[in-house]
């Protein structure tokens, strides 16, 4: 067990050189600031649902705020801003693979000819390409 040295607070500047430490040490300012911002954004996102801009826009707003919160978590809490680029590549790669999964599957199911239950009077969407003729 190493000697119980305690470090002074001068270690917690953002631009503190990392040669003393194995990896970047987050400052209290950054941590608390990020935490505070996340809590504020949570409140904002709840309040935003009280106003009705239309279903899709509300969804867009909620997702935008969620993405912003996620970005703050990833950059500051997870240190990705101060880390090797490759770690960001790994994470973004995973997100891309997931996005691929979603988009191709959605593309496919979007084509199914079905009546949208929400609007029973709307005709079914036309399929891609000409209909096959029989015979």
């Amino acid at each position: 067990m190493s000697a119980a040295e305690t470090h002074d607070d001068h270690h917690d500047d953002d631009d503190h050189h990392d040669d003393d430490h194995i990896s970047h040490v987050a400052s209290i300012k950054v941590l608390a600031g990020t935490g505070g911002a996340l809590l504020v954004l949570t409140i904002v996102t709840v309040l935003a649902t009280k106003v009705d801009f239309g279903a899709n826009i509300n969804l867009g707003i909620a997702m935008a705020i969620a993405t912003l919160k996620a970005t703050l978590v990833v950059l500051f809490f997870m240190h990705l801003k101060y880390d090797r680029l490759f770690h960001s590549v790994v994470f973004v790669g995973a997100l891309l693979a997931a996005a691929l999964f979603v988009s191709f599957t959605l593309m496919d199911s979007n084509q199914y000819q079905q009546t949208n239950i929400w609007n029973p009077d709307a005709p079914p969407a036309a399929p891609i390409g000409p209909r096959p003729t029989s015979g």
């Binding site: 067990m1 190493s2 000697a3 119980a4 040295e5 305690t6 470090h7 270690h11 917690d12 003393d20 430490h21 194995i22 990896s23 040490v25 987050a26 209290i28 941590l31 608390a32 990020t34 935490g35 809590l39 949570t42 996102t45 709840v46 935003a48 649902t49 009705d52 279903a55 509300n58 969804l59 909620a62 997702m63 705020i65 969620a66 919160k69 996620a70 978590v73 990833v74 809490f77 997870m78 880390d83 090797r84 490759f86 770690h87 790994v90 994470f91 790669g93 995973a94 693979a97 997931a98 999964f101 979603v102 599957t105 959605l106 199911s109 979007n110 079905q114 949208n116 239950i117 929400w118």
Partner: protein, 434 residues
């Protein structure tokens, strides 16, 4: 992709030769032999945990695919069903998890700066927050279980997402056996819970409130010289005294057996109690006149020696509030049918309310399938997180983490942040649908 190339590690005879311990004393005993130094091990571990987090993202991705697919194709299910969820709990959980993320990141900082007390405090705080999260989840889940708002074939709520009572498939309504909405105009029940689905709800029969408690019947009631009759007879006699029986329009009154003797009228018409089918064959409700409500006759406990049967007359429901959007509508009594159009042009808010007041759209259970799958999987990850952090706490108390060796704290914190991140998306997607 340029990684630091490490000189070949010479294992022979080397103990701490590579221990680059920055003058803080001996290198940590937890640096493994095949690593050059603490930084090498930390870097490798960091890459490893990021790869693990990548796979976690993909692990959840399939559920997000399912969510997006179903929401895109059945938005009515989502806009109806999300009202069953309590935004308050979701928001508190979000705040709790964000705070725990903060304490986890802070714990890493404490470990890096050798602040043992701070480390222990932060780890403990993270665990407490995680347990709080699970506690609130438990409250939410138990409410859903209680109300039968569940996944798949178990979705059978007693109330609509706007709070109105519903017809259910198996009368799984918690608490009461059945409840009724009485239509004063047609003098018939229009809406209620049934246990027996074969009962045709469109027939003008009365589905009674079977909130039966014991009703005291004394032998003295069977007086007028009659011997103490069989309990059933006295009971029926006793009960029918309380009401004036009148046949409903169109119904032939059935003769009531065996209680003419004890019969006392309040001077009104037919001495016969109407017998209407109730959801239990044994119940023989009588309709009380003058809007008093519904009384239950309790008929199947003949085997009891002392019958004490108390039946409560329900007060007739108030006349419908003209502002009530559902007031002048007849609801179809078939399960799963949406409500019919209201009287006036609805505002968006009223439209949402109306939608929520009606029956669930077809396959609303799919929302809860996805809800429970996503929050359940997330909850399992929170549980694992609690386990990992507890292990870390024990190790921190033993003083095993140093500025050289704090990898486990950092990596567990990264895992925890991913758990938080997933919840950051789950919260608006599930709870905050417009």
């Amino acid at each position: 992709m340029s990684d630091q190339l490490h000189p070949p590690h010479d294992d022979r005879g080397a103990e701490h030769g590579h221990g680059d311990d920055h003058g803080h004393g001996h290198a940590s005993p937890f640096i493994q032999h095949h690593y050059d130094d603490a930084k090498h091990q930390f870097d490798a571990g960091k890459l490893g945990i990021w790869l693990f987090l990548a796979q976690e993202v993909l692990f959840f991705s399939a559920l997000f695919v399912a969510y997006i697919l179903y929401r895109y194709h059945h938005p009515e299910i989502y806009s109806y069903a999300h009202k069953y969820l309590d935004v308050k709990f979701g928001a508190i959980n979000t705040a709790v998890l964000i705070f725990s993320s903060l304490t986890a990141a802070w714990a890493v900082r404490c470990a890096q700066l050798n602040q043992r007390r701070g480390l222990i405090l932060c780890l403990a705080a993270t665990i407490v927050c995680a347990c709080t999260f699970l506690g609130i989840k438990y409250v939410e889940y138990s409410h859903k279980v209680h109300e039968h708002i569940l996944f798949g074939r178990y979705f059978d709520p007693c109330v609509s997402s706007g709070g109105r009572e519903l017809l259910t498939k198996g009368n799984n309504c918690a608490g009461t056996k059945s409840t009724v909405v009485w239509d004063a105009g047609s003098q018939a029940a229009t809406y209620g819970c049934y246990t027996d689905i074969d009962q045709d709800p469109r027939k003008p029969g009365v589905q009674a409130s079977c909130q039966v408690t014991e009703y005291a019947v004394s032998e003295a009631k069977g007086a007028e010289g009659k011997p103490a009759a069989k309990p059933t007879e006295t009971l029926k006699a006793a009960i029918t005294e309380r009401c004036v029986e009148e046949p409903l329009p169109g119904e032939e009154p059935e003769p009531v057996t065996g209680h003419e003797a004890g019969h006392k009228q309040a001077g009104e018409a037919a001495p016969h109690a109407q017998k209407f089918p109730c959801w239990r064959p044994a119940f023989q409700p009588a309709v009380c006149k003058k809007g008093v409500g519904i009384l239950v006759e309790y008929g199947d406990h003949a085997e009891r020696e002392d019958i004490r049967i108390k039946a409560e007359c329900k007060a007739a429901p108030k006349a419908p509030d003209p502002g009530d959007l559902l007031a002048d509508r007849q609801q179809q009594l078939a399960l799963g049918k949406p409500a019919i159009q209201p009287r006036h042009e609805l505002t968006v808010h009223e439209a949402h309310e109306l939608e929520a007041a009606g029956a669930p759209p077809e396959h609303t259970n799919m929302f809860f399938t996805i809800y429970f799958a996503m929050t359940g999987l997330h909850g399992i990850h929170v549980l694992f997180g609690i386990g990992v952090f507890t292990w870390l706490l024990i190790r921190a108390i033993k003083g095993q983490f140093t500025p050289d060796y704090f990898g486990p704290v950092d990596f567990a914190a990264l895992y925890w942040h991913i758990v938080d991140l997933i919840w950051i998306f789950l919260f608006p997607l599930l709870y905050l649908i417009h």
